[in-house]
Amino acid sequence: MDSPRPVLGILGAGKLGIAIAQLALKVSYAVFIAGSSTAEKIKLSIEILTPGAIAVTAEDAIRRSDIVILALPLSKYRNLPVDLLKGKLVIDAMNYWWEVDGSISELESASSSSEMVQHFLPQSRVVKAFSHIGYHHLLDDARPLGVTDRKAMAIAGNNVTDVQIVACIVSDLGFDPVLIGNLADGKILEPGTPLFGASINEVTMRKLAGLDNK
C-alpha cells in the first residue's frame, strides 16, 4: 500500500468487534477498541484475543482513530456520542436483530438500518460494511488479495470517496469489496434477505444483489 493505513477505532468489544479487530491486526492496522464501559473491563480479553489492539474508552477510540467501526448492538446506537463523531467516516457493521434489539420505532420510517444510523449521526459519513457475514465466518473466510477463493463483502454508502476508502479496508482485511449502492440500498444486506449471512464470491454476490443488470 502506498498511502498510510488509517487507524481504526472499534466500538464494541463483543464477538463482532473482536473478529474485526483480529482481521485488522493480521494485516497490521493500528486498532483501538472500546466496550460499553471502562477500558479496564475489556483489557484482559483484548490483550489475549486481539494482541496489539489497544483497549480504550469509546471516547478515546473515536479521538485516536481515523475511521470508527460500529460493532455494538444496534439498539444501543442512541448512546453514540454524536458530537465526537462529527466529520468522521463511520463504518456501520450493525444489524437489526429483533430478538435482542426489540422493536425500534425509528426503523419503520427509515429505509434501512444504516440510514437510521446516518440520520442519528447527521454530520458523520456512514458507510455500511462488515454486517452481512457472520462473525464466526469473518476469520475463516478472510483471504489475502490474489487468492482464488476470496469471498465478497458488500458495501453501501452515499459518498463515493468514502465508499472507496472502506473498499480498501475491506480488501486489506481479506474480502473482495462489492459496492451495492447507497445507504438505502443497504436494505438488501439486512436480516431476512438472501445476502444476509451469505459467504459467497463476487460473481454470486453481484447476481444476488441484482448488479449485473444495472
Binding site: 475489556i42 480479553s45 435482542v100 464466526h136
Partner: protein
C-alpha cells in the same frame, strides 16, 4: 503440552448433548414431542450401557424441540441408568430462578446417586424471555446477578443475597442438600469474552459452544480463561467443547442422513433470525474444516482428536441428532460413538 501427558494427566470426558430434536420414524413421520422425549431417554440408557461419560440436555421452548425442562428428563434417565453423568446443556439461568434451579438439580442428584451436573448459560435463543416474563434488555444483568447468587447457593449453606432480579434472601437455607455437598456446575459460553472471564471469576469449569467455523479460533479463548483464572486466583480444572455432529458406518451415509436434517433445522431457525438458507457448499465446508463432526467413526474420531489437542480441552460433548433424523439412525450413532469413536479418540490422543 506434550502428547504423552494426556495419558498421565488428563482423563478426557466424552458426552452426548441433545435438545430433544424431533426424530422421524421409518416412514418419515415426525414423532410426537412425548415420543421424542422417550427417544432421548432410550438413547441415554444406551449411552450409559456403553460407558459414555455424560448426557447433557439443553432447553428450548419452541415446536421443533421436545425438551423444555431438561432436569425432568434427566430425572427420568436417572433411575434407569447407573454411571452416566446427567447434565443440562445449558440451563438458561437468566430466565430461571437460581433457587429453583438448585432445588431441581439437587433432586436429580439424589435420584441419580450424585450424578447431576449443571451447565449455566445465557442461551443463544431468546424465546424463554417473553415466555417467563423477562425483558431481553436485561440480558446482561439477569445473568450477572443470577450467576453470583447461584455460586452462593452451590455452597449449600444459608444464603443472604440482595439484587434487582429476584426477591431478597436472608439466611435462606435451600433443600435438598446433596450427599457430596456440591453439584458440578460449569458455564457455557458461545464466544463472548466477558462470559469466559465470568466463568474464571467464579472458578466454574468452562464449556465452549463451538457451533460454526474453525474450532482453532477458540484457542485464544482457552488462553483467556487460564489467564483470567490465574488473575482471580481460581482453579481451572475442566474446559470442554460442545459441537454438533453425526456418525454413521461410512462418510457418505453420515452426510446423506445429516445434511437434509441439518438443513431443515438450520433453515427453520434461520427464518426467525433472518439467515439465508443453508447451502450444501457451506455444510461441506463445516464438515471439512469447521465445526460439524460428521462422518464414519474414523473420520469423526480424527476430527475430535485434532480439536481436543488444538484447544487442549478435557471434555468433548457431541451434539447429536440435529433436525428430523430417523430415530434408528440416532440410536446407531450413539452406539458407534460409544463403541468406536471414543476409544479411537483416546488412542489418537495417547498414541
Amino acid at each position: 503440552m506434550p502428547k504423552s501427558s494426556y495419558k498421565q494427566q488428563r482423563n478426557i470426558l466424552f458426552g452426548l448433548d441433545s435438545f430433544g430434536d424431533i426424530p422421524v420414524d421409518k416412514d418419515g413421520n415426525l414423532f410426537s414431542h412425548a415420543a421424542a422425549i422417550r427417544q432421548v431417554v432410550d438413547e441415554a440408557v444406551l449411552a450409559d450401557k456403553l460407558g459414555i461419560d455424560v448426557i447433557a440436555l439443553g432447553e428450548h421452548h419452541r415446536s421443533d424441540f421436545s425438551i423444555s425442562s431438561p432436569e425432568t428428563v434427566l430425572a427420568g434417565i436417572a433411575t434407569k441408568t447407573k454411571r452416566i453423568k446427567l447434565a443440562s446443556g445449558v440451563t438458561v439461568l437468566s430466565s430461571d430462578d437460581p433457587v429453583r434451579v438448585f432445588e431441581r438439580f439437587a433432586t436429580v442428584d439424589a435420584l441419580s446417586n450424585g450424578r447431576a451436573q449443571i451447565i449455566l448459560g445465557r442461551g443463544s435463543f431468546t424465546e424463554s424471555f417473553p415466555l417467563f416474563g423477562y425483558n431481553l434488555q436485561d440480558y446482561e444483568i439477569l445473568f450477572e446477578e443470577k450467576v453470583a447468587l447461584f455460586a452462593k447457593i452451590l455452597t449449600e449453606k444459608p444464603v443472604t443475597w440482595e439484587g434487582t432480579t429476584r426477591a431478597t434472601l436472608h439466611e435462606a437455607d435451600i433443600f435438598p442438600k446433596t450427599e457430596s455437598g456440591y453439584i458440578h456446575t460449569s458455564i457455557g459460553v458461545g464466544g463472548s469474552p466477558q462470559s469466559v472471564i465470568r466463568a474464571a471469576k467464579y472458578g466454574f469449569p468452562l464449556m465452549l459452544a463451538v457451533i460454526g467455523g474453525s474450532p482453532a479460533r477458540f484457542i485464544p479463548y482457552v488462553e483467556l480463561y487460564h489467564k483470567a483464572a490465574s488473575e482471580f486466583g481460581t482453579k481451572v480444572d475442566e474446559i470442554g467443547i460442545h459441537s454438533p455432529g453425526f456418525i454413521a458406518d461410512t462418510d457418505e451415509e453420515a452426510v446423506s442422513i445429516a445434511w437434509p436434517a441439518h438443513k431443515i433445522n438450520f433453515d427453520r431457525i434461520g427464518k426467525t433470525r433472518g439467515w439465508s438458507p443453508m447451502q450444501k457448499e457451506h455444510f461441506d465446508q463445516e464438515v471439512k474444516n469447521g465445526s460439524l463432526y460428521i462422518g464414519s467413526p474414523e473420520t469423526v474420531a480424527q476430527k475430535m482428536a485434532n480439536t481436543i489437542k488444538a484447544l487442549n480441552v478435557n471434555r468433548f460433548d457431541l451434539v447429536y441428532g440435529g433436525g428430523p433424523m430417523p430415530a434408528s439412525a440416532r440410536l446407531h450413532m450413539v452406539e458407534l460413538y460409544g463403541k468406536k469413536v471414543i476409544s479411537r479418540v483416546r488412542e489418537l490422543l495417547n498414541g
